[in-house]
């Protein structure tokens, strides 16, 4: 039964990835008339344009290009970067790890922090600590990530204190985690952006569960309050919150772009901005597909959590 539900989700995930690939590839067809000229600019020589057309395979019909591109994705061939001339896979492989560190660090801290603060807020509903937490999370949820990032830089790196580096220095060959202090500000920025959403969702769900009949019943059975919360209430709140966490993690994959640009962090986001600036279509396509894959994976994980915490789905579905 369980396998069947998951199987259905897997098929749907595959459908999403295929559809996204169509969308991402289809976007390139919107490139104005002469794509190669648009990329290289008006001063390009005819030879260079012809070479680029050859390189992009623009002489073939669109569907052929789509299938060879899609086929390439499966074997890790993401095409050739038009800006640098190197392979896209090579360009990205150096950076995937860096971005992953940033995202993983932010996720590991913000998920438990958000859940904890949300539960705390719900238990003190209506009180002063609850409204303070709600207010703070509203403020941080509102601001774009670069605003928060610049605020942190102004406070910790330039204007007020000068205790942390404002930008990432990564000499070639040295990994970013070689200097852990330069990871702090980007990670904190991401945490400050992601956590408020988790707090708010956890709080709302917990309040709903705490008002439910079975929580009142547990209290009327004489169940101690800690057990009421941990055994009866929290498990019911985890399913819905897993969905929000998944959306937030998927967002991390996109929102990391701005943060990396701000801190000059050598990750995928930075590569994406460069690629957009140079209209390096192959790189933009590859990164879009990677981001969609992250979305699909975290959503699958959230579905599993949802099924595991709900016996109705577990046994009946």
């Amino acid at each position: 039964m369980f396998g069947k539900v998951i199987g259905r989700r897997l098929i749907f995930s595959a459908f999403i990835l295929i559809a996204v690939s169509l969308l991402v590839f289809g976007a390139t067809l919107l490139l104005p008339g002469d794509a190669a000229r648009a990329i290289l600019g008006q001063q390009a020589t005819p030879e260079r344009i012809a070479a680029l057309n050859e390189q992009l395979g623009l002489n073939q019909p669109a569907w052929q290009r789509y299938f060879s591109w899609l086929g390439g994705l499966f074997v890790g061939d993401f095409g050739t970067s038009t800006a640098s001339g190197g392979s896209v896979a090579q360009l990205l492989s150096d950076r995937i790890g860096n971005s992953f560190i940033l995202m993983a660090a932010a996720a590991i801290i913000s998920v438990p922090l958000g859940i904890g603060l949300g539960v705390y807020s719900a238990l003190h509903r209506g009180g002063r600590r609850d409204s303070a937490l709600t207010g703070i999370s509203l403020v941080f949820a509102a601001m774009p990530e670069f605003v928060i990032g610049i605020g942190l830089i102004a406070i910790f790196a330039t204007s007020v204190f000068q205790i942390l580096p404002a930008v990432t220095l990564a000499p070639p060959g040295e990994p970013v985690w070689g200097r852990p202090e330069q990871l702090i500000l980007p990670t904190v920025t991401l945490i400050l952006v992601v956590t408020p959403y988790i707090v708010r969702m956890m709080r709302a769900t917990m309040i709903e569960v705490l008002d439910s009949g079975f929580v009142e019943m547990a209290r009327l059975k004489g169940v101690p309050e800690t057990r009421v919360i941990l055994r009866h209430a929290v498990p019911h709140a985890l399913g819905p919150v897993a969905q929000v966490v998944a959306i937030q993690l998927a967002w991390l994959a996109g929102g990391v772009v701005v943060v990396e640009f701000l801190f000059r962090y050598p990750g995928l986001g930075q590569a994406l901005i460069d690629a957009v600036t140079y209209r390096d279509v192959q790189v933009v396509q590859a990164i879009s597909m990677l981001v969609a894959a992250v979305y699909v994976v975290v959503n699958l994980a959230a579905d599993v959590v949802g099924i595991l915490t709900n016996p109705k789905l577990r046994s009946a579905a």
């Binding site: 009142e216 019943m217 009327l220 109705k312 009946a316």
Partner: protein
């Protein structure tokens, strides 16, 4: 009707009595913003007895019941008074509302147990049922060993009539029926051999037959365990069935208290008398809702169109032809002339409906003549709402035919002609859902006229105002919004919407089930008056067999999509031909 609502003090309940287990004295409870909800309530519970706590919605009966456990819902707080408990084998009383959290927790579930209203919401859906019973025993450290607790879980399950085996204990709540879930709740309550039991409308969501079984279980368990019970309900019939004494609550006051027989047969307080008069009885010895139709703002002089319709109906015996009814009325008139000779007003022939394997309706045949009222009786899942929606054209998945004056109607209301749509009007079950909260009563009531394209804006307004008068709301309700109205007022407005077009058939789908018993009585009274005034044919759909003699000439009993008994009300009730009807009549709490 204004009634003095001071709390009564019954001496016999307050004299020292060794049987008394729990005494509530002068209990006051307020909202956190300071509004008093309970104004000083007194009652006592004795071992082996059940006290019925009766009241309509908003009377504060659940609040009083939960206070016995030292529990106050979100937004409420204890104000003053006392709740004293004499636990078994203990001579000194415990003051429940003054205990600290740990002490009160040790009483809950062990000395005072609670059986909730809706078992589907009160059992933890993510915990196996055996584990939920076991949890009570673990927390209160029942017995000496693990084995003893395991044994107790199985034993108490058997006590409430469920299998006690391991496989059953491993089930999830959603795998049990409503009746079984409620018995798990009862088992949980009795697991620790409590002294006091608080029962909060434990049978409200259940069918009559399931209710009978659950009530029987509760009664047996109470006697066998010598427990003092507090049974909270709005249903006087159930009270008569199960309790020894009864206390009546009204808006936070306890207005009358005493032995069941004396309170129900010789009520002293105005409110109790009114309640008693409002409860429908199966034998139909009294007339419920008499005069109640006239109650809110009677303005009889203003109802000239509908009155004249009524008069013409009285004289000619056919349907209306009054006022600004214009084209529709004349069309109806001709239809009547053509079909009146042989065809009945409304005829349902071989109506059947199935969704996949589930046969919802199976070969339904019914006839309704002008001025007739047929009561369609069925429990939940019998298909009664589906049938009434097929007739109204809201459900077009059926096969068979619905005929109005001999003409077969299209299945969907959108495909029916204007006159056909106007001819059959449908009133929805919940008055809280059937009126658009964003629109005024007047706007909502104008819709039928607007859609049938009759008259001018002014004439429509006049018709709506007359309909409001006819349901005894008065035209001042025209500009009000549903949010300002009580449930009964909303239901009257919904009935008025069905009347503006002067229909010949009115389908009423469980229209009193969401209402308090006194409001139900006044609605039933209103329908009776409207039938006479407008010569309406009516299909009254309900689960409440006790209403049959109060409203209907004919009775149709629907069970699993089949009409099992059909005939004049009196003969069906006195000589039921089908086994199902017989059990239904036997299971209904006698009043």
């Amino acid at each position: 009707m204004t009634t003095e609502t001071t709390t009564v003090h019954h001496d016999d309940a307050n004299v020292p009595n060794e049987k008394i287990v729990l005494r509530v004295s002068d209990l006051k409870i307020a909202t956190t913003s300071g509004n008093e909800i309970l104004h000083g309530v007194n009652f006592a519970l004795s071992r082996g007895e059940i006290l019925g706590l009766v009241g309509e919605s908003g009377s504060g009966k659940t609040t009083a019941g939960l206070a016995c456990m030292g529990h106050f819902r979100e937004g409420l707080k204890f104000a003053s008074g006392s709740v004293s408990l004499w636990p078994r084998g203990d001579d000194t009383a415990v003051e429940v509302v003054e205990l600290d959290e740990v002490a009160v927790r040790s009483l809950r579930g062990s000395r005072i147990a609670y059986i909730p209203q809706d078992p589907a919401l009160s059992l933890n859906p993510a915990m196996r049922v055996g584990e939920q019973i076991r949890e009570v025993l673990d927390i209160h450290q029942f017995g000496a060993s693990d084995a003893e607790r395991t044994e107790r879980v199985a034993a108490v399950l058997v006590d409430v009539g469920l299998p006690g085996d391991k496989a059953y204990q491993k089930r999830w709540p959603h795998q049990l029926s409503g009746g079984q879930q409620q018995r798990i709740g009862i088992a949980m309550a009795f697991a620790m051999y409590p002294d006091v039991l608080i029962l909060d409308e434990p049978t409200t969501g259940l069918d009559v037959s399931t209710q009978a079984v659950v009530l029987e279980t509760i009664r047996q368990m109470t006697v066998a365990n010598n427990v003092a019970g507090l049974y909270i309900t709005h249903d006087l019939a159930v009270i008569k069935d199960i309790s020894d004494r009864v206390a009546v609550m009204l808006r936070g006051d306890l207005v009358e208290e005493g032995p069941v027989a004396s309170v129900l047969e010789k009520p002293q307080h105005e409110y109790t008398k009114m309640l008693m008069a409002a409860v429908p009885d199966l034998d139909g010895r009294k007339t419920i809702g008499e005069g109640a139709a006239e109650d809110p703002e009677p303005e009889p002089a203003a109802t000239h169109i509908l009155m004249s319709t009524g008069q013409s109906a009285d004289s000619s015996g056919s349907s209306n032809s009054g006022g600004s009814g214009g084209s529709a009325a004349s069309a109806k008139g001709s239809a009547t002339a053509a079909g009146a000779i042989d065809a009945p007003l409304l005829q349902v022939t071989d109506v059947a409906l199935a969704y996949g394997k589930a046969q919802i309706l199976d070969g339904i045949n019914m006839v309704l003549e002008p001025g007739d009222c047929t009561l369609l009786l069925g429990e939940s899942g019998s298909g009664k709402t589906t049938l009434s929606r097929c007739i109204a054209g809201l459900n077009d998945d059926y096969s068979g035919a619905v005929r109005l004056r001999g003409t077969e109607l299209a299945k969907s209301t959108r495909k029916r002609t204007n006159e056909q749509r106007v001819g059959i009007q449908y009133v929805f079950q919940s008055p809280f859902s059937s009126l658009n909260p964003r629109r005024s009563i007047g706007q909502s009531l104008t819709v039928p006229l607007e859609m049938s394209g009759e008259g001018t804006a002014a004439s429509r307004k006049a018709q709506v105002e007359e309909a409001l008068d006819a349901v005894r709301l008065g035209r001042s309700f025209y500009h009000r919004r549903p949010g300002d109205l009580s449930g009964g007022e909303r239901q009257r407005a919904a009935i008025a919407r069905a009347l503006v077009n002067q229909p010949s058939v009115l389908v009423c789908d469980e229209i009193t089930s969401a209402l308090d018993v006194s409001v139900q009585a006044s609605i039933v009274g209103l329908l009776r008056t409207l039938r006479e005034e407008h010569h309406l044919a009516m299909l009254f759909v309900t689960h409440n067999i006790a209403l049959s003699r109060h409203i209907a000439d004919n009775l149709a009993v629907l069970n699993k999509g089949v009409i099992v008994d059909y005939g004049p009300t009196a003969s069906v009730l006195e000589n039921p031909t089908h086994e199902y009807t017989r059990t239904l009549i036997a299971d209904v709490p006698k009043f």
